[in-house]
C-alpha cells in the first residue's frame, strides 16, 4: 500500500475511529506489524516506559553496581552483546548467548529454551536474582536494591508517575513491570528488507533479493521456523490465543553420544520437560539484525553467518574432535526442516546478503532507546 493510499483509507474510515482517551498509550508500529499482546496487569504508559529505560541502563540493578541490563543487551548489537556467552557481574560465565531483545514483545515465550517464561516481566527477574550462574547478582538484596532506587531523586517522581495511586510504588514487581514496558518499545522494523517489502525495489541488492527467494524456498526451508514479519514462528499478538504459537527445534548442532545427545552443560528444552524428544530443542530467534548479533546459536558456538548457512546446508554440524565430537546430521531428534540442501558458494553469499539486509540501522542509534543517564 502506498502512503497516498494509506492516507486516503484513513480519511474514509476516520468516521468510525474511536476517540483516543487523553494519555492513552499509542504504539509506534512499523508497517504490517500487529499490536503486541500486553499483560492485563501491566498496561503501557509513557511514564512507565521512561522509567523502564532508566532502570535498564542503571548499574544499581546489579549487586555490586557494576552491570545493568544493557551490559549484555547493548543497543549497538541490537540489544544482544556480541560475545559468545556473557560474563555476569561477579565474573561468572553465563552459559547461553545473550538474545537480542528486539521485538521481544511478540515472542510467545522468552529466552532460548524455557517454556515457563511467558512474559518479559517474569524473564527480567532471572538475570536480576538468578544465582546459577550469577548475572546481575541481586539474590537476597531486594530491600537493598529498593533503598538504592528510593535514594535517587529522579526515581521518586518517575516511580510515582509510572504507578500512579500506589502508596509505595518502589517494589521489585514494579521494577520488572517498568523494564518489560521499555523492552516492548524496542521495535525493529526499519531495515532495508522492510523498505523492500513496502515497495522500494531498490532497497536491497539483487544479491539480497536472490537470497530472500532462497531463504523462503522449499529447498532451504529456512522460513518454516523463521516466518512472518518477525522472522520467527515463536509468536503472539493481540489476535492470537494468549499463549501464542510455541515451537522448539533441534537443528542438529550436536550429537555427542551418537544418540542425539547435546553437551551435558546445556541440553535445551529437555531440562525442563524431561521429554526425551526435547533434547537439543531451542526456540527459533528472530532473524532481524543477525548481521550485528554474531556469534550465533544458543551457545554462540557458530562464529559467522556463512558458517550458519553451511551447517544447515550439511543438515547438521559435524564436530570431528574434542569433547563435543559427533555428527549432528545424524541426530535423531533433529527437526524435519533440517534435511540439508545443495547450495553454491554464490547462493550462500546471496543468503548472507539477505540476512544482512535485515539490519535496522536506525534502531542501533535510536535516541529513544539510548542510555538516558548520559
Amino acid at each position: 500500500m502506498t502512503w497516498i493510499a494509506a492516507i486516503a483509507s484513513c480519511a474514509v474510515l476516520a468516521a468510525c475511529t474511536a476517540p483516543t482517551p487523553p494519555g492513552a498509550w499509542q504504539w509506534d508500529l512499523p508497517r504490517g506489524f500487529p499490536e503486541p499482546r500486553v499483560p492485563d496487569d501491566n498496561p503501557m504508559s509513557q511514564p512507565k516506559v521512561d522509567l523502564g529505560r532508566r532502570l535498564f541502563y542503571d548499574a544499581r540493578l546489579s549487586g555490586n553496581q557494576t552491570q545493568s541490563c544493557s551490559s549484555c543487551h547493548d543497543q549497538a548489537h541490537a540489544f544482544g552483546d556480541g560475545r559468545q556467552t556473557p560474563i555476569g557481574s561477579t565474573g561468572q560465565s553465563v552459559r547461553r548467548n545473550a538474545m537480542s531483545l528486539v521485538n521481544a514483545a511478540w515472542n510467545s515465550v522468552q529466552t532460548w529454551a524455557n517454556s515457563t517464561l511467558l512474559e518479559l516481566e517474569q524473564q527480567a527477574l532471572v538475570p536480576m536474582f538468578g544465582d546459577r550462574p550469577v548475572e546481575l547478582g541481586l539474590a537476597g538484596m531486594e530491600a537493598v536494591l529498593l533503598d538504592r532506587l528510593r535514594a535517587v531523586a529522579i526515581y521518586q517522581g518517575q516511580f510515582a508517575a509510572a504507578f500512579p495511586g500506589e502508596t509505595d510504588p518502589f517494589s521489585i514487581g514494579n521494577v520488572a513491570r517498568a523494564l518489560a514496558a521499555f523492552e516492548r518499545t524496542i521495535i525493529s522494523g526499519r531495515s532495508p528488507y522492510d523498505r523492500f517489502q513496502a515497495g522500494d525495489t531498490r532497497a536491497i541488492s539483487a544479491s539480497a533479493q536472490r537470497g530472500m527467494e532462497l531463504t523462503f524456498s522449499e529447498r532451504l526451508e529456512c522460513h518454516h521456523c523463521h516466518s512472518g514479519f518477525n522472522l520467527t514462528n515463536s509468536y503472539k499478538d493481540v489476535d492470537t490465543a494468549p499463549e501464542g504459537f510455541v515451537h522448539y527445534f533441534n537443528t542438529g548442532l550436536y550429537n555427542v553420544d551418537g544418540q542425539g545427545g547435546y553437551p551435558a552443560s546445556d541440553t535445551g528444552l529437555v531440562e525442563l520437560t524431561q521429554q526425551p524428544k526435547d533434547m537439543g530443542r531451542y526456540r527459533a530467534p528472530t532473524l532481524r539484525n543477525v548481521g550485528v548479533t554474531a556469534p550465533y546459536m544458543h551457545d554462540g558456538s557458530v562464529a559467522t553467518l556463512e558458517e550458519v548457512v553451511d551447517g544447515y546446508a550439511r543438515g547438521g554440524r559435524l564436530i570431528a574432535t574434542g569433547p563435543d565430537a559427533g555428527d549432528g546430521k545424524l541426530n535423531p531428534h533433529k527437526s524435519v526442516f533440517v534435511p540439508g540442501f545443495a547450495i553454491t558458494p554464490a547462493e550462500r553469499d546471496d543468503v548472507v546478503a539477505f540476512l544482512r539486509s535485515l539490519t535496522d540501522d536506525e534502531l542501533l542509534t535510536d535516541p529513544r532507546l539510548a542510555d538516558p543517564w548520559r
Partner: protein, 292 residues
C-alpha cells in the same frame, strides 16, 4: 500521550484498522443474515483413521497399500463457502458465526490436533464444529470448499487475523496457506504428510502476493448427501485418503508424502482422493469427507 510527529500516517492506519476495514488483514465478515429469518446450524466433524477415532500420537495398523502402520501427529484444514442443500438441490449459504478464533468471514479452520507431546507443531485448542446460521428450511445435504478463498490466501500469517495467524499453516506470501495439513509417521519410521495448497503462483518474489492466478488453486469442492446436521456427523477420514498410498516409502528427492508439488509422484495417489487432478492424473470422487 506519546508524541510521534514523524508517524501520523501509521497511527491513523492502525486506528482505522480497528474498524475492521484494512484489506491487508483479510476480507471482512459477510453481513449477518437477519436473525429472525435464519435458523442456527452446527456442523459437527469427527476425525477418523479408517473409522477409528483419530488420536494424536496413536499408532494405527493397516493404513495404506500395502498396509502399514501410521501415527498421525497433525490434522487441520480450512473450509469456506459452506452451504446446506435441499432435497431439490437448492443451495442455502451458511453465515458463519464470527468467533475471533477459528471462524472469520466465510472461512473456518477445523483443528483436530491437540498439541502437547504427540502433536507438538500444533496448539492445545481444538475446533471440530462449524457454527452459523442459515435460512429456515429442510436440508438433506451439505457442501463446502476445502481451502482458503483466493482473496484471503496471500496474507502474512503473522499479521493476519485468526484463524489465519498460525505460521505452521502457511507457506509464504506467494503460495499462501496450507489448506489441509496432515502429518504423521508411516511404516519404517517414514514421515508421510499431506500439505494441500495452491501451486504455480506467478510472481518474482516469494515474499509478495502472486501477480496473477495460481496455475492450480487446488481448492476442492465437497458435496455430501444424506446429511442432517441435527443427527449426522461429517467424518474426516485420513485412512480413506491414504488408502492407496505406500506410507513406508517416499520417492527420493521429493517432499515427504504429498506436499502438493507438481512433480511429486506421491500426490498422484492422494489428489484424486481429495477430488482434485494432479498433473495428468485426473480428479476422482473425494473420500476424505463422508457421512457415516
Amino acid at each position: 500521550m506519546r508524541a510521534h510527529p514523524t508517524r501520523p500516517v501509521i497511527a491513523g492506519l492502525l486506528a482505522a484498522a480497528a474498524c475492521g476495514g484494512d484489506p491487508q488483514r483479510g476480507v471482512d465478515a459477510a453481513p449477518p443474515a437477519d436473525a429472525a429469518a435464519t435458523q442456527a446450524v452446527t456442523l459437527r466433524f469427527a476425525a477418523k483413521v479408517n473409522g477409528e477415532a483419530l488420536v494424536c500420537g496413536h499408532t494405527y495398523a493397516n493404513v495404506g497399500t500395502p498396509a502399514t502402520t501410521y501415527t498421525p501427529n497433525d490434522l487441520r484444514l480450512f473450509v469456506h463457502d459452506v452451504a446446506l442443500i435441499t432435497a431439490a438441490g437448492a443451495r442455502a449459504a451458511v453465515t458463519l458465526a464470527q468467533d475471533g478464533r477459528f471462524q472469520r468471514g466465510e472461512l473456518a479452520l477445523l483443528d483436530f490436533e491437540t498439541g502437547g507431546t504427540a502433536c507438538d507443531m500444533g496448539t492445545t485448542a481444538t475446533h471440530t464444529e462449524i457454527t452459523g446460521s442459515v435460512a429456515p428450511g429442510s436440508y438433506t445435504g451439505v457442501s463446502f470448499k476445502l481451502g482458503v478463498p483466493e482473496a484471503m490466501n496471500h496474507l502474512d500469517a503473522s499479521t493476519a487475523q485468526p484463524p489465519q495467524n498460525d505460521t505452521t499453516l502457511w507457506w509464504v506470501w506467494r503460495s499462501g496457506y496450507r489448506y489441509l495439513k496432515i502429518d504423521g509417521i508411516g511404516g519404517a519410521a517414514n514421515p508421510f504428510g499431506i500439505h494441500l495448497g495452491a501451486i504455480g503462483c506467478p510472481g518474482s518474489s516469494t515474499t509478495q502476493p502472486p501477480s496473477g492466478p495460481c496455475a492450480a488453486a487446488n481448492v476442492a469442492e465437497i458435496a455430501l448427501t444424506g446429511f442432517d446436521a441435527a443427527t449426522n456427523l461429517i467424518a474426516v477420514d485420513l485412512g480413506a485418503v491414504l488408502a492407496t498410498s505406500n506410507l513406508a516409502t517416499n520417492t527420493i528427492n521429493t517432499a515427504p508424502g504429498c506436499l502438493s508439488d507438481a512433480g511429486d509422484p506421491e500426490c498422484d495417489a492422494i489428489f484424486p482422493r481429495l477430488g482434485l487432478a494432479h498433473g495428468s492424473t485426473p480428479a476422482a470422487t473425494q473420500v476424505l469427507f463422508g457421512v457415516p
